[in-house]
Amino acid sequence: MNTTVTAGTAGVSERQTATAPQPAREDTAVREGVTVGMPFADDPKFRLRNVEVFYGVDRAIKNISLDIARNEVIAFIGPSGCGKSTFLRCLNRMNDSIDICRVKGSLQLDDLDLYDPKRDVVELRARVGMVFQKPNPFPKSIYDNVAYGPRIHGLANRKSDLDDIVENSLRKAGLWNEVKDRLDAVATGMSGGQQQRLCIARAIAVSPEVVLMDEPCSALDPIATARVEELIAELSESYTIVIVTHSMQQAARVSHRTAYFHLGHLVEVNQTDKVFTAPEHSLTESYITGRFG
C-alpha cells in the first residue's frame, strides 16, 4: 500500500555506510557493526547504538546501531532466529522478564536512557506499547481488556472518560462496530482477527508514542490480516510503529523503511521500495528473491 517515505522519515539520512553504496553483490559475509543503507535519522524517536543482547553466554544481537524516526513504520525482516524479536523487545524492555537476558549498548527514547537503572519500566511501557504474535486478550470482557491500561495508568478520572477512551481505541482499531453491542462479552470468545485487533486497541488505549508489533498477523487468516494491515496504515499517522514480519509482501505493503536482520546482525536498512527493488547487500537480495527463508 504505502511504500513511499512519508514526512516522518524525511529526516532519514545516510551518514555512515562502511560499504560502497553501489553493487556489493560479492559481499555475502557480514561485518559486525556494519549496516548498509540508511540506518540513521536526524532527531530520531529511538537512538540505538552498539546494542548487544546476550542470552546467558549466547550473543543474540551483535552490535547493532539504528535510528527509528518519528511517525515512521519500520519493518524488521529476516529469517527465523535472526534476532528480530529480541531486538524489538529491547525497545520497551520486555526482555527484563527473561532472567538470563542482558542488554548492552546505548538505547535512547527521546534522549531518555531506556536502560537507566533508575528508569521506571512501567512509565516506559506506557509510552511504548506492544502487540504480540499470538493474540493474547485477557480472559475478561472486551471493555475490561481495553480499559485495563487506562485504569492502571490513571488516564481516566470518570467512568465516562473511560468509556470514551475505550470507544475511541476500539474505533481506531476498527473494531467498534463489530463489538459495540457486546462490550461485556468475554474477549477470548472472539475470532482470532478480532482478538488481534482488540490487542491493538488495548495497546493504543494508553496513547503510547510507539507501538511495537511482533508478527501481528502470523496467526491470522487473510481477511483478518488485511484488516490489521489497513489498521497499521491508519495508525502510522499518529504513532511510530515498529513491526516484525515474516512476510516480505507484508513488509512491502505497510512499512516506510525495512531492516534486514541476519544471524544477529543488522545487514541492511533502507527505504522499503529500495530494499525490495534494489537491495544493496547480497544477503538481502538472496532473502527477498526467495533463495532462502
Binding site: M94, S97, E123, F138, I152, V206
Partner: protein, 425 residues
Amino acid sequence: MSDQTPQAELIRQSLKKRYRKEKRFRLYGMLAIAVALGSLLILFTDIISKGYTGFIKTTITLEVPLDGELMYLQDPGDSEQLAMADFQAPILAALQQHFPEASSRQDQRELNRLVGSYAANQVRDLLKTQPALLGSTKTLEFLVHDTVSVYVKHADNPAYSIRLSEQQRRWVDQLVAEGAIQTSFNDVLFSRGASREPSNAGILGAIVGSLLTMVVTLVIAFPVGVAAAVYLEEFAPQNRLTDFIEVNINNLAAVPSIIFGLLGLAVFIGLFGMPRSVPVVGGLVLALMTLPTIIISSRAAIKSVPPSIREAAEGIGASRMQVVLHHLVPLAMPGMMTGSIIGMAQALGETAPLLLIGMVAFIVEVPDGFFSSATVLPVQIYLWASSAEQGFIELASAGIMILLAFMITMNALAIWLRKRLERRW
C-alpha cells in the same frame, strides 16, 4: 496391493504379536484401576457394613407417673430439693407397670438398667421447666441403655446379647413386641458432644471441633501458601536463599505429620504458652502441615497461566505486582483452590500430630470458640475405636462414614470449583 515391499510384509507379520501386546498392556492398565478401585470398594463396604447401625437409635416409650412422693420432691422450684430428689423412681415405676412381677431389689436394678442414665435427667429437666406437671402422668420417650440398644439392633446375633441377663432379654423382647421399644434415625449422634454412653454419644462436638480447626488452618495456610507461592514464582531472585526455601518446602511436604505434633507441642504450647486441646493450636499445626501442599500446587497453578497473559499485561505497562494481583492470581485461583482443598482434606483426616497437643480429650460440651477445648473427627473415631463397649465400635464406623462424607464433599467441591473457575484460552 501391487507394489508390496518386503518391509510391508515384515510389518504385517509383526502386527499380530504387537496387537496382542497392546491388548495386554491395556488390560494391565484396567487391572491396575480395578485393583485400586476394588480396594476402595472393599474398604467402603467394610466400613458401611460395620457402621450403618451407628445411625440407628433405640428408644423406649413409657407412661411415667410424675408422683412427688415417689421422687421425694414437693417443690420443683427448690434447687435443694431438686438436687436430692430421685428421678429414677418414676421411670422404674413405669417399667414395673409392664412387669409387675419384678419386685425384688435385684429385679429392680436390672429393670433400671434397661434405660440409659440420661433418662433421670430428662425427667428432672422436664419438672424444672414445667413444675406444673408434678403429680400428673406423662408419656415420655427415653433412650434405652446401650446394652439393650445393641441387643435390639443385632437381634439375630447372640454375640451382642451377652451383657443382658436372661430375664432382661425376655423383658426387652416383650417390650419390643409391645412396641414400647422402637428404633429410629439416630439424631442424637448429630446433636450432642461426646459421652461415655454409646447411645448418648454424639459427634457434633467433634464436627464443630473439626470445623473450627479447619477454619484456622484455612485462614492461615491459604493466604500464606498463596503469598509464598507468588513470591517464589514471581519475585524470588535465583539465589541460595530461595533454593534453600525450595528444598525446605519439598522437605516439609515429606516430614511425618507426627513431627509437626512435636513442633506444636514445643513452640505453640511450650514457648507461646497457648492452652492444650484447643482448635487454634490444632489449626496452626495442621496449617504448617498443609502449607507445603498448598505452596507446591499454587506454584504449579501460577506456572500454568500462559506466559502470553503476563506479556500482555507487562506490555501495557503493568508493574510486576499488578500483573500478579490482576492476572496471575485470579487465573491460577482454581488450581490453588484445588490444591488447598486436597491439603485440607488431608488435614481433616489427620490424627497423629493432634495426639501430642492434647486434642485427644473427653469433651462433652460442644466447643463454642477457637479457644475452647475440642477434639476433631478422626480423633473421636480413634477414641471410640479403642473403647471397650460394643456400642462404640459401630459408632466408630459411623464416624468414619461421616468423615468420609466430609472428605468426599470437599473433593467434590474441588472438582466443581475447578470446573467452575477454569478458563480456557
